[in-house]
Symmetry: C2
Subunit: 71 residues, 2 copies
């Protein structure tokens, strides 16, 4: 259940990043985060802080409310 939640968040992030034609490294640099951190979120290994996910959403031209629209 909790792992499913992390996987859902990770898949959504990966899809949004791909739609923006950004590599994990490009996204990480623009959001001032580590590439390995992005990778671990996308694989559902960790759950990002809302603050870091907000930074990520800014780079991906979206908002937390849009990211979680069906959560």
């Amino acid at each position: 259940m909790e792992s499913d939640f992390r996987k859902q968040v990770g898949e959504r992030l990966m899809n949004l990043r791909s739609n923006n034609n950004l590599s994990q490294e490009m996204l990480a640099n623009q959001a001032d985060l580590d590439r390995s951190y992005i990778s671990r979120i996308e694989r559902g290994i960790i759950s990002p802080s809302v603050e870091n996910l907000s930074k990520i959403c800014n780079v991906l031209n979206t908002s937390l409310s849009k990211f979680f629209h069906d959560f």
Copy 2:
């Protein structure tokens, strides 16, 4: 800026918790988290993981999309 973000999240949590007539301890117990963790979120000291905020939203009868409706 980043600290403002944490404060906004903290204030929203505190308001929602009060509206649900729950103490920090009651919320923490129901969400399976520590009371001090809830306290640090509400004071804007830390940013919760999206997974833990999701647990908190469940207890408060809301969703992540509603929590972040204007973020």
